[in-house]
């Protein structure tokens, strides 16, 4: 067995219940507030922090530079990469660059369609899909890129990167088998960990975990912090594969405005606590409410 390439990998391999966080770079160059938040609330509380890649197709600062800034402040980043915006040349090039910058964790994603974002006129690239991206990373790690020379031999790299490669899955979708098959393909293509789409229903998640019992990579259950009942309802309507049960919506609705953060942290914490036995970690998506992370961990009965 090869040595872990990151602290994140090391923790999972050590059998710890690993918690990761997430930040989204800003639209503009003013990146300091988000990095400061990460430093304040995430550093020390979570093992690694995902940096989103032009999330929901809304144009913003890149993932790679966010990762670099976290590294500089001693926080281990997870470099999210979507295949929406770059063809295979740009993706592989960015992977080499990321490695040079010291980035070791990569989360390979397809990415929301440009139609969902603020540049719907943009050309969606999708030269490769998430499986193809994972294959590409695995290839780079083996010292070759996706291309070939005139004789058909793979191009050799001068200096070879190594990554801890992750992928995503949606556990709570109505027809789950195609998701599971795709997960199997991602694992076959080289995925080493999974961070799931948001889960609010532990029972469904438990079933899902049983269904992927044969998939031997660690799973971090995804928790999206609810900011209001309205947001929950919106997600039920508009976000694919996310179902917030009525009881949780009611709890958010009943909470006075000043207590919402508290209630939200309670809900998230309880969810993590309940699902802790089923999986290997939790991925907290706070959507800017980084300050609730300590509370969540407390409710989840997790010591940083």
């Amino acid at each position: 067995m090869t040595l872990p390439v990151s602290r994140f990998q090391e923790a999972l391999e050590a059998g710890e219940f690993v918690v990761t966080g997430e930040i989204g770079p800003p639209k503009g160059t003013n990146v300091e507030p988000v990095i400061h938040e990460a430093e304040t609330y995430l550093k020390g509380n979570v093992v690694a922090v995902n940096v989103t890649d032009i999330q929901t197709a809304v144009m913003r600062t890149g993932s790679m530079v966010g990762c670099k800034l976290l590294l500089d402040r001693g926080i281990e980043p997870v470099f999210q990469m979507v295949t929406r915006d770059r063809n295979r040349l740009a993706l592989q090039s960015d992977l080499l660059s990321a490695h040079i910058l010291g980035i070791r964790n990569v989360l390979a994603l397809t990415g929301d369609h440009v139609a969902m974002g603020d540049h719907p006129q943009a050309k969606p690239v999708y030269d490769v899909d998430s499986v193809g991206l994972l294959q590409a990373i695995t290839g780079l790690e083996a010292g070759t890129d996706m291309g070939a020379d005139m004789k058909g031999n793979p191009n050799e790299l001068d200096g070879v990167p190594t990554f801890f490669k992750g992928c995503c899955v949606t556990p709570c979708t109505e027809v789950v088998e195609p998701q599971i098959i795709k997960l199997e393909k991602k694992v076959e293509a080289g995925a080493q960990f999974v961070q799931t789409q948001a889960v609010y229903d532990p029972a469904t998640f438990e079933t899902f975990m049983k269904n992927i019992d044969h998939v031997k990579i660690p799973v971090l259950v995804g928790i999206v912090v609810l900011k209001s009942a309205g947001m929950a309802k919106y997600m039920n309507r508009g976000v694919p594969g996310v179902q917030v049960p009525d009881a949780i919506i009611q709890r958010m609705a009943d909470a006075p405005k000043e207590d919402r953060k508290k209630v939200s942290a309670e809900i998230a914490g309880e969810l993590v606590r309940e699902m802790k036995p089923m999986c290997q970690g939790a991925h907290l998506m706070t959507l800017g409410w980084d300050d609730v992370v300590p509370d969540i961990l407390e409710h989840a009965e997790i010591k940083p």
Binding site: T110, H113, M116, C168
Partner: protein, 230 residues
């Protein structure tokens, strides 16, 4: 077949602006079938243009004609009007027809009146939907006859993404998730193994990766041409 939709009238009028004598030329091929560029639609556009010209005091003479197909040289013999006699021709053909006729009549501007939108099938009376992207590397054999290139909004080739939502696509709640359809179809056919296989990234050389695509059937190349080459 090729499906096209009529350009906004103002755009047509704008591209036409400096011309005085204009022929609206219908195409009797695909665009007739999709009720966009046939003789009827050419007559309607011609009528609209004459009305607009009167409205705006433009000096514009509009006539119309139709042709079996604008993508074959031989049919131009059947034209009643000579395109060369006009300042411009408003072609009701798809982009292929506009481009090809422009080559045949280098002196006459052929202007597009349609936006060529997709290769589609007639899904219901008056309705067409995209079924093929002309990618040059057909995958339908292992996708249960449902094209992921044309009908998945991300043209994914390894399965559903996280954007599938109640069987619909994240892009449009009216649009089926192609991969969910493929999954269901393959399952019905007992061929889920096809879904399980990892498909390598597509080879885009067949799809615009090497510029203009061509097709030559050697056996049909004109005899004289072959002789001159020999």
């Amino acid at each position: 077949m090729i499906v096209a939709e009529r350009k906004p009238f103002d755009e047509i009028l704008e591209m036409l602006a400096p011309q005085k004598r204009v022929l609206v030329l219908a195409c009797g091929g695909c665009v007739t079938v999709c009720l966009t560029g046939g003789e009827k639609q050419a007559d309607e556009l011609a009528s609209q243009l004459r009305l607009a010209a009167r409205q705006k005091g433009m000096d514009l003479t509009i006539e119309s004609d139709s042709i079996t197909r604008q993508c074959d040289r031989e049919f131009i013999e059947n034209l009643k009007a000579d395109p060369g006699q006009y300042d411009a021709v408003l072609s009701m053909a798809c982009g292929v027809g506009v481009g090809f006729m422009s080559e045949l009549y280098p002196e006459t501007p052929f202007l597009p009146t349609l936006n060529t939108t997709f290769y589609g099938a007639n899904t219901a009376p008056g309705a067409w939907a995209e079924y093929c992207r002309g990618c040059g590397d057909c995958v339908l054999a292992w996708t249960g006859g449902i094209c992921p290139v044309a009908r998945c909004s991300k043209s994914l080739i390894n399965g559903t993404c996280g954007g599938t939502n109640d069987g619909k696509c994240e892009v449009d709640q009216e649009m089926d998730c192609a991969w969910l359809l493929i999954y269901k179809r393959l399952k019905e056919l007992g061929r889920l193994d096809e879904y399980r296989k990892i498909r390598p990234p597509r080879d885009h050389r067949t799809d615009r990766g090497r510029g203009v695509r061509r097709l030559v059937h050697e056996e049909m190349v004109e005899l004289e041409e072959e002789e001159s080459q020999a």
